[in-house]
Structures are given as C-alpha cells and as structure tokens.
Symmetry: C2
Subunit: 355 residues, 2 copies
Amino acid sequence: MELNSILSTITNTNGKFAEEAQTRLDSLTKPQGSLGRLEEFAKQLVAITEKEMPEIDKKVVFTFAGDHGVAGEGVSAFPKEVTPQMVLNFINGGAGINVLARHAGAEVIVVDIGVDYDFSAAGSGGNVPLQIRKVVNGTKNMRKGPAMTREEAEKCIAVGIALADEYAKKGYRIFGTGEMGIANTTPSSAIAAVLTDKSVEAVTGRGTGINDDAWINKVQVIKDAIAVNNPDPSDPVDVLAKIGGAEIGGIAGLIIGAAANKVPVIVDGFISTTGALIAYLIEPKTKDYMFAAHMSQEIGHKSILEKIGLRPILDLDLRLGEGTGATLAMTVIEAGLKIYKEMATFAEAAVANKT
Amino acid sequence: MELNSILSTITNTNGKFAEEAQTRLDSLTKPQGSLGRLEEFAKQLVAITEKEMPEIDKKVVFTFAGDHGVAGEGVSAFPKEVTPQMVLNFINGGAGINVLARHAGAEVIVVDIGVDYDFSAAGSGGNVPLQIRKVVNGTKNMRKGPAMTREEAEKCIAVGIALADEYAKKGYRIFGTGEMGIANTTPSSAIAAVLTDKSVEAVTGRGTGINDDAWINKVQVIKDAIAVNNPDPSDPVDVLAKIGGAEIGGIAGLIIGAAANKVPVIVDGFISTTGALIAYLIEPKTKDYMFAAHMSQEIGHKSILEKIGLRPILDLDLRLGEGTGATLAMTVIEAGLKIYKEMATFAEAAVANKT
C-alpha cells in the first residue's frame, strides 16, 4: 500500500544537526538562551532540513476546504453556503488568510477537497490558485452514519501527501496548514473526544459563535455521531472516516508528506491540529516536523496539543482558522531563523563573553 | 516646569474612535471577534492615532544604553565593558535587535544616555545611528548612595521626551523601546520591589544568567540599595533617581513623549516595563498608548505588567532586552492593523453573515 511505503521513509530528525545549531547559537552576541523559543525554532529548522543554513524563502499555506453533512443538524452559526462563498473570497484575496499571508510573504493555495459546490466555472480568476482535488461533495451526516468511507478518508490523506510532494519539489521550504468548512469544529470535537479520551463537553466549543442552546445541541449531535459510528480509537483512519472531514484528512496527509520531504509544517488551530493528531497517530515521527502555531480559543485545542506534545507559539485568542494562526506564526519562526543566521558572534563583534 | 506642561497635554484615548473601529471589524468576512487580540491591536491603534485608517509605515525602536555603578558589586554575569561593546555591535548591525528590526522593517536608533565610554570617535560609521544624549557617565553605585541626582533623573526623562517629539515630527508612526546596560536588571528589580510592594526575592531574576550565589548577592545588594536610599514610592522620579538608571529614565520619557504625540509605543521586557511603570505613575493616561510586547523570563516582569494593567502580546521565553521583544511584537501589531484595513467586508465579498 502506497501510504505505508511513504510512512517508511519518515525518520526522526537527527540530533546532530540540532547540536551543531546550538553551538552556533551559543556563539552569538547575547547571553546563552536569552532569545528563548526563537532559538528553539532555528534549531528545529536546522534539524528538519539537515542544512547548516536553512532557507525558508518560499512559503506556502494550504487552506483545505470541505463541507459537512452534519451542518444540517444546526451545529453552526453560519449557513453551509458560506463554505463556497469563503473559497471565492480566498481566491479574490479578501479573507483573513490572504491578508496575513501577504504580511508573512507566503502564498495561499486553496484546496477544494470536499466542498459541495462546483468551482469549475470559478476557476483561476484571482491571484490565489484554487486546486480542485475533490474527494467528496461534502461528507455525509455523521449523526446518521459514517461521514466518509474508509477509501474516501484514505484518498483525502493521499491528496495531502501529493500536495506536499508537489510543493516540496517546486522549492517551497515551509508549509502552513489551514481550513475552511462550515460546521467543521463538530467533527474536530468528535475526533478530540475519541482520541484524547475526554468527555465531549470538555472538547466542544462555540465554533463561529453559537449560543448556549446550540452548544447543548452540538454536544448531543457529537455524542450521537460517536454512538452511531463507534469509531476505533486505535485506528486513526477509521476515526477520520467515520466522524471526521475531508479537510481534516487533507491536513493529516499534508503533514505526513511534509515529514517525508523533510519540510517544516506549521499547524494552525483546533481543526488543523485534529488533522495533525491523525497524522501523529498514523506515524508519531511526524511530530518532529511540526510547529504548533497558536493556542486557539476553541476549548478542545489544548487537549489535542497535549496529546501530541506540542507547545503553541502564539496565544492571541484566535479562533478563525483558514491558516491565519499558522501564517502569523511563520513570521515568528522566520525571525528565529534570521537570529540564527544573521547575528554577529562574540568573536566577530569583539564583545567580551560571560565571565 | 516643562515636564508638567507636557503632561497636561496627555489625554486618554477617545472611545468614539475605538467604537468606529469595532463597527468596521464586525463587518469583515470572519465570525465576530474571531481574530481575537489582532482586532484589539487595530482598535487601539485607531483610538491612539484618531485616524480611521492609521499608518504605521515608519517604525523605530530606541535602544537606550547606560552603565550602572552597581555593576561593581558582582550582580551581572558579564563585565561592564560589554555595554559599549554592544553599542558598537548595534551600530554595526550585528546584534539581536538589528536582526529583528530588519525583519520588522523598523529602524534602530541607539541612544547613549549614560554609557561610561566616549563614543565621539565611533560616531556614525555604521548604518544604525547613534544619538549621543549623555546625561551621566554611568550611574553611581546605588548600594552606597543615590544612583543619580533628581536633576539627572529629570534630564533622562527629558531626553526621552525630546526624542519622541523629534521622531514624531519626522513622521515615525510607532515606537518601540529597548535598552542595553550591564547590570540593569538590578535597578529594575529594585524599582519593582519598591513600586509593586513585592519582596526583593520575588522580583529578582537571573539577568544574563548568574548562578545561585550571585543571585543571593544580587538580592542583598538590592536590599542594601533600598535601605541606604529609602526612595519614596509615592514619588516615581525619586525612585528613578535613587535606585534607577539612565536608560530606564529615557524609556519613561519616550513613553510620556509618545503619549503626548499620540504615537503608539511598544514596551519591551523587564527593564523597559520598569521605565513604563515610572511613566505610568507620573501620568496614568500614558497607559492608553502602550502595548506590552512580551512576558519576559525575568520574574519581576509579571508584577510590573500587572501593576500597570498590561497584557503581554508574546510569551517566547525572551530575556535579552535591546528592544527585541518590542520589535517582534511590532510585526504582530502590524498584522492586526492589516486585518482591519485590508480584509473584505461581508457585503464586498457577497458572503452570508451569521444566521
């Protein structure tokens, strides 16, 4: 099976590179360790890329879009039509992710992996490319049965891997993940409950901003979906298929593909991290290639980050998704790399070191 | 007195501008409030500048440098010579602040406000200007008596105000604060203890990286300095003079001048925030113009931030100073402003709003 052959190529990062990076960091004109996590980011980039002086000049964020049958259960504050409308907004450059990607000097690639809308007419009008890699026309309603078949879930992962391969070959040096899909905090919370062994209530938030009654309904919908589908927590693909979403599968695949290509990948918020958890449970070595962008306002996010063992970079009360947090974190990670590459050493600057 | 006439021009920001900014933020294609603190930053910039569409294209960080007589008491891991050596490193573009300022698109202005070294020969060789506004040739040893006279402390504040005026007139739209001065966490901790009513132990950290014995000595030195000088907590200028430093006074002045000129100012870490606390206690309205860049590793920082009532933007285990955190936070604040200015509205993008 193709997935297994890709997984077999993924290795842990090599500690030797991190050690060499540490030696350089300690020679720079600052007290040792005084730039904290900026130094860690540089070290991790060196370890991932196995390059003494990594470049992350070509940056890209993938915004995977998908619809969800469960949107019909009143779990979101926004109507389902907003998914394709926002895809068009991405293509036209007007969304939050577009603004922050321009700020970070990153490109946005919008991926229709499961939107219930035909974009063939919309095509490539704007500045932002739309990749049509549709696996499903929206998932099925998981309250009544599996959201996807196992084959569809595997296809979603394969789409992500293929994109990672293509963009790594095109010379992109760092990836960000993102997503759009009305109702997609619902499958994310369902996955979080099943895979972190927390109660549904403990990992279910307000999404785009639902009220108390809608939240109570959302929790019940998730409980029903888990009861109806009985996903196997020891089989992440089964979980993804039964109570997940196309964009979550695409993100899991992108992360697996990033690790296979030794490309660092910045994981956005709650939904993206759910994808990262699927990738991590398929192959734990993928963790070495991940950066956690931020701590989302969605309450389930913390549990998933802890399950993988990731510490978020930013904590700015974000809960938009799209890849906005990943793109903002990109600028901070890049700052760390520049510190590592551009600062003068004690010797170069003729500065006395610690006594 | 000139300071009082400047203080009388400082007003709280006008809530009307923040409200108008909120209306625009709520019309953008995202769930309301979903970009969290990025939205707050934009709102605060609108309120400060009283402009519907603020510009922060010209950015500058001021790195105030000063020496400290108390360095002779073994409170730092680095020798005193490092202060002028690092000033030269700044001018030559090799320090952490230079790297991060380039990353943020900001200029660095190095201000010799109290270095015990004659830079007149070093002059303006490099790309980074050195402003020689020397008030003292290093402070006196505060363990034995006042670090500065009251007149010197007032002069330091006046230097900061004058720089704020000059750079506001030159068209700079956002300021960052920074500092360099071997031993300057010692006066900062002393000020923190006196002005936040915490024990010296609770606000004294490891600075550039001292060991346990040196920390015990540092705490004793601070206690002695407070006992010898008996600074009046109700008189921030008295505290600044007796147990402070020239760069801390310069930063306090810069913040007062920023508020008087309606220019936003990003306060860096522990030492800078000590300066901000002096400014705040002189005129509490200055708080409206401040952004707190980050939460430093220095343990006294949290107490000072809480005393002013500021929530830091970043938490990256930084403890370098120089303005590094302020400059990094500048990129995040700018991201918030771009969100506010560049995102499409629901109407423009033909996206359905919340049901």
